[in-house]
Subunit: 217 residues, 2 copies
DNA sequence: GAATGTGAAGGTTTTCACAGCA
DNA sequence: TGCTGTGAAAACCTTCACATTC
């Protein structure tokens, strides 16, 4: 029986779990059977203690003196992250970003299956995009329910995002990945994550601009 | 004269600066002249103390009893983030993700101008993509230098990423936004940020899977 | 009165360091 | 011996609370 998690796991730990998972996929391909926290940390530019602490929240997967079994640890992290199953995903807004993400291989590889596409542009509705017919956003609510969609990727313009988001919430969806550059209001039981690629670039421009942080006064 | 920053600013603070910046753009459009930390925090689901503390690292921009002047604060944050100028950006790898990002409006709006596109696919090289000719990746190093590119967005397949990254570093570029799902090695003076949209989805699937975190043993 | 700016307190995350086990 | 697992310490980040200013 899977052990329940008894404390709040930090976002950083969850994020690193995804990083370990990818590293383990690579290690498996490279033929490793076991991996030490030291080596795993080195590859991902973390500390060995960090790796061990992160994993220890979920159980004891390693062997003292040896390290962690690559295949089993990978499988165990997949379980923790919920990747040992398929997730029905819908994409709302099939513009630039949306249409690129439909064919983003990394999603399908981890079990995120894009089942439905929605847009409000009459020219797009009914057309086939990478094997999926684009539906009218007017029918979204019922279709999200019928198709048991559990995750929505929101890629509509900022101005439309809150209204569309409200409909998604009303359809009972509890997880939204929002690409619109706007802060959305959702009930407490809905998981909303914001993704904004411009913000990452801004982080880079900050670093370049403030390259020499010198003591001044 | 711009005050130099005397301590290490945390990544979370930098990230929130981008959030404040977007909020201030909205407030300006809505006609606000001043905004209190309380109101700004409410809009972005933060605490007033957090807002004030973040801003205080960079100076005193507010007026006691009144709040912060929207226009000036926005301008000041733009300076801090390095958004009061243009950045020459190159995109390396014009596949699904890359080609979508070329027309991502949010980049140009913040001054990130995509000047060059590179790919290694002979069928793509020479073709015009949204007004930019796709160049042969074989000529990348010299062209990055000639065009004074300061930021590179890397959207090549994982298997090619490290080699391409090495060339980018050799061309003297100090900031890379990497979309390949692989951990890249760069020298200490190069700013590397990883962006992986699947990891965000995995965070959501973790939350859905571990929805009821119950004390157990 | 209202809201900033900021030391100090409180909380969270990371790192240390070592006991315990293969 | 080598490496995990983990309390305790250290570092870091957020919130509190209040003196200060408009």
């Amino acid at each position: 029986m899977a052990r329940r998690i008894s404390r709040k796991i930090s976002n950083s730990t969850i994020h690193r779990l995804s990083i370990y998972y990818r590293a383990l996929m690579g290690l498996e391909r490279e033929g490793y059977d076991t991996i030490s926290s030291k080596e795993l940390a080195k590859r991902e530019k973390l500390t060995p203690a960090q790796v061990r602490k992160d994993l220890s929240f979920f159980g004891s997967f390693g062997t003292r003196g040896l390290g962690y079994p690559v295949k089993e640890l990978k499988q165990r992290i997949a379980e923790i992250l919920g990747l040992n199953r398929l997730w029905n995903v819908a994409m709302v807004g099939v513009g630039n970003v949306g249409s690129a993400l439909v064919s983003y291989k990394e999603f399908a590889r981890q079990g995120f299956i894009i089942k439905l596409l929605f847009d409000n542009d009459q020219r797009k509705i009914g057309s086939n995009h990478k094997g999926i017919i684009i539906s009218d956003i007017a029918n979204m609510k019922s279709q999200l329910k019928e198709n048991e969609i559990t995750i929505v990727i929101l890629t509509v313009p900022a101005s439309a995002a809150q209204k569309v988001c409200d409909d998604i919430v009303e359809a009972g969806v509890k997880a939204i990945l929002n690409f619109a550059p706007v802060s959305l209001k959702v009930p407490d039981d809905v998981n909303l994550l914001n993704e904004n690629m411009a913000i990452e670039l801004e982080h880079l421009s900050f670093s370049l601009t403030n390259r020499n942080m010198v003591m001044f006064d």
